[in-house]
């Protein structure tokens, strides 16, 4: 055994300096990862040999699986035989780091990339998105207004909205029946309040449900913003983009409600966002706030009878739902900005192209003309389409547009998780505010 031999030599009694360097070296293995900063393999656009003289290859990076992009890419290539689109799928968690290192270092690849809407302001601030205002023109009324707003910075358009999102309240019929709880209506005019949901959840739980109430992305800002908004606390940012107020009475009240859900055992602690849907699908939760994209999962869950109702609001408060998803933008260093723009316009604005985009996507399209056909073709959303449209038109609230969004989202997530685990809401929010202000002092 080699180890025995090695150990017998008493490695640490000799040459401490060299060994020190070796140990330090192992630390630096990390450092190399840090400074190389996700320079992901570059399988660039040059690979494909030009078949015709004018053949152009544009590269495209996004978080969706390659199959999700196939319909729109095929439809676009059929109409534009001289352009080839090469798609590269990157995990969401790596996407921003990759864009920063590739686009940020002046690389012309990728030509097109997906931009998380609340991060667009920061991307623009760093010069990573091409201004396409004059090339695209006025598209008011073509796409959902909130998505258009989310893609616009200082009156200039930097990306085209592709998809949008909303949240609904799912309920487990069997668990509600057991607690003699009336099913909530799907009609937005009969929207129930958080107070009612909590009371019903308590009834369902005391009648046997493992958990009464859970949120899908249980500790994320996207999911919880409507609580504070409905309470009148605003988004937490503004009016200046780097002005924060998350310690107001409204915020504390909303977070006290949220914390109580877990303190009382209605909601589950220690479960990460990726595992909550499975719990509802398994019949463990009476009320579940989640995205309509979970419909197919729940419909396919054996023994689960569920219904859908509008996202709740606080009694006497505003009716607010979360929204926002993906826009697609162009790399300012792109060698083929015209072709990239043609692809973007096709995917986002052309009704045929937008429908092809929507076909592969799990999220509703941002293109208004595509809306109806998307829902009529998407069997799983039958009966819910009207509710989704209503929320997108009337109650949706985008996340704050600020260059400091990433830091804001990260530390709010920390605060939400702490409150869920029983921390005092005001203290947790104050700590988050301090951490965010400190992180923001590094911007600009």
């Amino acid at each position: 055994m080699e180890n025995k031999e090695v150990l017998q030599k008493r490695p640490f009694s000799r040459r401490p300096l060299i060994r020190l360097v070796a140990v330090v070296g192992s630390v630096l293995l990390f450092a190399s990862g840090c400074s190389a900063a996700s320079t992901t393999a570059d399988d660039g656009g040059e690979a494909a040999a030009p078949e015709k003289i004018e053949q152009v290859v544009i590269t495209f990076v996004g978080p969706e699986a390659a199959e999700a992009m196939t319909p729109v890419i095929e439809a676009f290539e059929a109409k534009n035989p001289h352009i080839t689109v090469e798609y590269e799928s990157v995990p969401f968690s790596d996407l921003n780091a990759l864009l920063q290192s590739r686009v940020g270092s002046g690389d012309s690849d990728p030509d097109v990339f997906t931009a998380d809407q609340p991060r667009i302001a920061a991307l623009v601030d760093q010069g990573l998105l091409l201004d396409i205002t004059s090339e695209v023109g006025d598209i008011t009324g073509v796409v959902i207004q909130s998505s258009l707003d989310a893609s616009t910075v200082d009156g200039k358009l930097y990306a085209l909205p592709i998809s949008t999102s909303t949240q609904v309240l799912y309920y487990n019929k069997a668990l509600l029946d057991a607690g003699s709880v009336e099913y909530p209506s799907i009609s937005p005019s009969d929207r129930i309040t958080w107070e009612e949901v909590r009371a019903d959840a308590v009834a369902a739980q005391s009648a046997g449900a493992e958990f009464g109430l859970m949120w899908d992305q249980v500790n994320r800002y996207y999911q919880l913003q409507p609580l504070m908004e409905s309470m009148g606390g605003g988004s937490g940012i503004g009016p200046d983009p780097l002005e924060i107020n998350v310690t107001s009475d409204s915020w504390v009240s909303a977070m006290t409600f949220y914390g109580d859900v877990f303190e009382s055992g209605l909601g589950a602690r220690g479960v990460p966002p990726a595992e909550t849907q499975g719990m509802f699908a398994a019949g463990q939760i009476a009320f579940f706030v989640g995205g309509p994209w979970w419909m197919p999962l729940f419909q396919g869950s054996e023994g689960l009878e569920f219904g859908v109702a509008p996202h709740p609001y606080f009694d006497g408060g505003e009716e607010v739902t979360p929204t926002g998803a993906w826009s697609w933008g162009i790399n300012p260093n792109s060698d083929n900005p015209e072709e990239a723009l043609a692809f973007l316009k096709f995917a986002a604005l052309d009704p045929e192209g937008a429908l092809a985009t929507a076909q592969g996507f799990p999220l509703p399209p941002a293109n208004l003309a595509t809306f109806d056909s998307y829902y009529s073709e998407n069997q799983s959303l039958e009966g819910v389409a009207g509710l989704i449209s209503y929320e997108l038109e009337n109650t949706s609230r985008i996340r704050p547009r600020t260059v400091g969004y990433v830091q804001f989202e990260e530390f709010m997530g920390v605060a939400f998780e702490d409150i869920r685990n029983g921390s005092d809401p005001l203290t947790a929010l104050q700590q988050a505010e301090e951490a965010i202000l400190q992180a923001w002092s590094r911007i600009g």
Partner: protein, 307 residues
């Protein structure tokens, strides 16, 4: 294991035969050739990165020289100070526990087990599971409402514990997760070390009337001092750089109780894209690790080996 390579290269060969100058040159050349790949790799993957990190830590995101600005920011930052203290507290707890348990386990395998091979294999099984996977499994097991650990506690009449969701217990839960892998792994080295102890010495001690404990403390432990030293240093380095369970299970919480420096570096580098700050933090961590390891070297140096 970087250290093992060093240990191998630390071997000395003594030869009494006189050498001609040409032979010496030849040997030197051969030595250089043999060492070249290792030195080159060390240069490329260890020294170049440290230089890069040092360089980056004195610059802004735009690449301008900013002197000590990044370090001043870090040292003035409460979150960095909290991370540092969480990391040090964690290490003060986890290292003695892991090494003590690993040593007891190694003794049990060497002295007590009927089928040491089988026990050693069982003992190593957690090492075969990637840390990311075991972190997820532990996360599910530690769920306060429905986790298997609380079910086990309930079965013996003990109350539910909050595990990773409590600021008081999260650090200990991470100690448990890290030790589940660590103890078996480090015991492997100690088993090897204990096997190396010359049997005739143990027999001589027995004849002289030394009991088990006396033999253990006066003969076996001093003789495996080198192995223990290696385990101490390597374990400390591993735990100072522990990252996966924190990133996957607690993200530094609750209330910052597991916000170790490695996680803070990750957040600055890969979430906030503040590379200069992450570089400065990495540089400080390297200095801290180096200082701690240097101290450990000092204490582990056998008496009489001062020169």
């Amino acid at each position: 294991m970087p250290v093992s390579n060093e240990a191998v290269s630390g071997r000395t060969k003594h030869s009494s035969a006189p050498r001609s100058p040409s032979k010496v040159t030849q040997n030197l050349l051969a030595a250089i050739l043999f060492l070249a790949p290792a030195i080159l790799l060390m240069f490329l993957f260890r020294l170049v990165p440290i230089a890069t990190v040092a360089w980056d830590s004195f610059r802004s995101s735009a690449g301008q020289w900013v002197g000590l600005e990044n370090f001043v920011f870090l040292l003035g930052s409460p979150s960095f100070r909290d991370s540092l203290s969480a990391t040090l507290i964690f290490n003060l707890i986890v290292n003695p526990i892991q090494i003590a348990l690993a040593f007891l386990l190694a003794l049990a395998i060497v002295d007590g087990a009927r089928r040491p091979g089988l026990w050693q294999s069982l003992n190593l099984m957690p090492v075969a599971v990637p840390l990311a996977v075991s972190a997820i499994v532990w996360g599910v097991a530690m769920r306060p409402d429905s986790g298997i650990l609380n079910s086990l506690l309930a079965a013996v009449g003990l109350p539910n514990q909050a595990w990773l969701t409590s600021p008081e217990q999260a650090l200990w839960s991470i100690v448990l997760i890290a030790s589940w892998v660590g103890v078996g792994y480090w015991a492997l080295f100690l088993v090897a070390g204990l096997h190396q102890v010359d049997h005739s010495l143990l027999e001589a001690a027995k004849i002289d009337g030394a009991g088990y404990l006396r033999t253990l403390f006066s003969i076996r432990i001093p003789l495996i001092r080198g192995t223990l030293g290696f385990v101490l240093v390597a374990d400390t380095v591993v735990n100072l750089l522990l990252f996966a369970p924190v990133q996957m299970l607690t993200r530094g919480g609750p209330e910052g109780s597991t916000s170790f420096v490695m996680f803070d570096i990750y957040r600055n580098a890969f979430v906030f894209r503040d590379l200069p700050l992450a570089a400065a933090e990495t540089f400080l961590l390297v200095l801290i690790v180096t200082a701690i390891v240097a101290l450990q070297f000092r204490f582990m140096k056998p008496e009489g080996a001062k020169k």
